[in-house]
């Protein structure tokens, strides 16, 4: 009995190890450790490709349909807190997602599984009144990426548009 139990555990371990995608595992490892003092949760790892881990292939819950981080400006890594990200899918269904204290927004697959391609825009109200509302549309569609940071990473270059931002300069966001 004891021996058969051991074999079963061994087989399960091998099966689990065999299911790991080495490419995904390597990319996850390349992200590095958690920031000190920041627990797992909505505030961890801003700016990183969330769905590399929070997806069926990534193996971590919750799974996200779309997730990313918005910054104030092109020349700043300061997060844009309270921005509203509008996502429209190919069927016209849409969601409004608000960025949290580190500028991150996400929607889980259990909440919404949009049909690609997607169109997105970011809006932000400066101050307490709606007198100054800043808005920008993403110029192109998202065809399959579920993590904004798959394409939006720093530094900008031939294969990246740089991080997501609303204003070209920090001073220009809410003059």
């Amino acid at each position: 009995m004891k021996r058969s139990w051991l074999i079963a555990v061994l087989a399960a371990s091998i099966a689990l190890l065999g299911c790991r995608n080495p490419v995904v595992s390597e990319r996850q490892a390349a992200l590095g450790p958690e920031q000190p003092g920041v627990p797992h949760g909505p505030l961890h790892r801003p700016g990183q490709p969330c769905t590399l881990c929070h997806s069926a292939s990534g193996g971590n819950n919750p799974e996200f349909s779309l997730a990313g981080t918005v910054y104030k400006s092109a020349d700043s890594n300061e997060p844009l807190v309270g921005a509203v990200v509008q996502v429209i899918d190919k069927d016209g269904a849409q969601r409004y997602l608000t960025t949290n204290a580190v500028g991150t927004f996400y929607v889980t697959t259990s909440d919404w599984s949009p049909s690609f391609p997607l169109w997105t825009s970011v809006g932000y109200t400066c101050g307490d009144t709606a007198a100054t509302y800043v808005h920008a549309d993403m110029q192109t569609q998202i065809f399959r990426a579920t993590a904004c940071a798959d394409c939006h990473f720093d530094p900008s270059g031939p294969s990246s548009a740089g991080h997501i931002y609303l204003s070209s300069t920090a001073a220009g966001l809410c003059p």
């Binding site: 998202i142 399959r144 990426a145 798959d150 031939p158 294969s159 548009a161």
Partner: protein, 173 residues
């Protein structure tokens, strides 16, 4: 040397010679569609296929450069604000397309664009063959008509110009 050993040696030599036989005419060249007006087709491929999360990636065999996607110049970056496609990027896109299935491409050219779905490019684009990006270029769309007209050496410039435009956002249902 025994007879069987001699026979074996002959068989090996024959196999070796057959294995080394190359094309009957190594100077044979395939006639494929011209790159002369490929710029318009390149624009369609850039919009429909070349986003950074699809074929606008360096690891793709069909690697597509575009203004808002992957750039060839290390100093350039994806943006629709200013800047244009360089001739090197258009040439790279042309090479990527013709290198996929040059023999089939030549047959399609010979047949004046008949049966374009012989090409994986067309089948995958239309989604009639398994394609992660689905039917990125719907049958009969301006993009589809552009590509088919290029394959037939009768470029539909209007279809290509329209097909290169980024689709409008859908309205709420």
């Amino acid at each position: 040397v025994t007879g069987s050993a001699r026979s074996g040696a002959c068989a090996v030599l024959a196999l070796y010679l057959v294995g080394c036989t190359g094309p009957s005419d190594p100077t044979e060249r395939l006639a494929v569609q011209s790159s002369a007006r490929f710029e318009l087709v390149s624009g369609v491929l850039g919009t429909g296929c070349g986003s950074l999360d699809c074929h606008g990636q360096v690891g793709r065999s069909l690697r597509i450069y575009s203004q808002a996607g992957l750039r060839l110049d290390p100093e350039a970056f994806p943006s629709l604000d200013g800047g244009t496609m360089s001739s090197a990027e258009i040439e790279a896109n042309y090479q990527a397309v013709i290198a996929l299935e040059p023999e089939v491409l030549a047959l399609v050219l010979r047949d004046h664009g008949e049966n374009p779905e012989r090409l994986t490019l067309v089948r995958k684009g239309r989604g009639s063959e398994s394609h992660k990006g689905g039917a990125a270029i719907a049958v009969g769309s301006t993009s589809d008509r552009c590509i088919l007209s290029w394959l037939a050496s009768a470029l539909d410039e209007t279809a290509c110009t329209d097909g290169a435009m980024i689709p409008q956002r859908p309205t709420s249902p």
